[in-house]
């Protein structure tokens, strides 16, 4: 079976980079249009639906890797990466809930609310691909989300423009610090994995789907506020 060279992962990077202008435009509207004070809590609520799935998705993918370990050379190293990354990401949804609490959000109501169809489309596709295709598809999702994390300056912008307290921007600040490194780690793993062409394609499709749906989610937040 043909296994990917590093050159194929370079192609994945190029394909995913083609989504950057649209992702940047969607984020620009989110942060720069008037009304950020109203929009910021809505953004956090939408992203809570996403981020609450991060560790569970990796846990599911790690279990499916364990199932495949005997005859799949990708499964072992992918599982080791996922187990490490689970510990790096654990509790980040609690940061986001703390940000919302600082804004006076009714947390029990928020946690109980049904996430939107767009959130389900974004994270739900990953559950499907992990369960019914291959857990490596999750790497496209991780690469796009961690590769488009808040910039270091964003926290200050939100505090200044939305007039929210410093305690309401911890999630943005922490992810600005962590996710640039995490995105590179995701690509380093992909370069090291003995992926088949079909598995490389799964990562790309997952990443492109993630980008398209994330843009849709940001537009939903802008439209609703």
């Amino acid at each position: 079976m043909d296994r990917t060279s590093g050159g194929s992962i370079a192609a994945v990077r190029i394909k995913l980079a083609l989504t950057k202008p649209a992702l940047q435009a969607a984020a620009a509207r989110l942060w720069q249009l008037p009304g950020l004070a109203q929009r910021y809590p809505a953004y956090l609520c939408a992203m809570h639906g996403v981020i609450r799935a991060s560790v569970p998705l990796m846990e599911l993918a790690a279990r499916r890797c364990a199932d495949r370990a005997a005859d799949d050379p990708v499964a072992g190293p992918l599982r080791q990466y996922l187990l490490r990354h689970i510990e790096q990401e654990r509790g980040h949804d609690d940061w986001l809930l703390a940000d919302l609490a600082t804004l006076g959000c009714d947390l029990p109501r928020r946690v109980a609310a049904q996430p939107s169809p767009t959130v389900a489309r974004l994270a739900g596709a990953q559950y499907y691909w992990i369960e019914h295709y291959h857990p490596v598809a999750l790497m496209g999702y991780i690469a796009v989300l961690e590769g488009n994390a808040p910039t270091p300056e964003l926290g200050d912008w939100i505090v200044r423009t939305a007039g929210v307290p410093e305690g309401a921007v911890r999630t943005a600040r922490e992810h600005a610090e962590l996710d640039t490194r995490h995105a590179e780690a995701a690509f380093h793993l992909l370069e090291a994995l003995p992926l088949t062409a079909a598995q490389t394609n799964a990562v790309t499709i997952s990443g492109l789907h993630t980008a398209e749906t994330l843009i849709r989610l940001f537009a939903d937040v802008v439209r609703a506020t």
Binding site: P21, A22, W31, Q32, T171, N201
Partner: protein, 66 residues
């Protein structure tokens, strides 16, 4: 999965800035599968929908959380 079935002219017709891309980027674009191209066209359509109302900013940017 289906294989590539498009040309640079097809991509240009969909609004991809083919002329501004490097040779490596063009080569990758020519190798896009049908599904990859369809997703990229969807992404491009979303960019076109929003128009130039707000300019992307290099410092106030990024909104994805994992």
């Amino acid at each position: 999965m289906t294989g590539p079935s498009h040309t640079l002219a097809d991509l240009e017709a969909h609004g991809f800035p083919v002329g501004a891309l490097t040779g490596e980027q063009r080569e990758v674009l020519l190798g896009l599968t049908t599904e990859e191209l369809a997703l990229l066209i969807d992404v491009k359509a979303r960019l076109d929908e929003v128009g130039p109302e707000v300019q992307a900013h290099s410092e106030v940017a990024g909104a994805a959380l994992f």
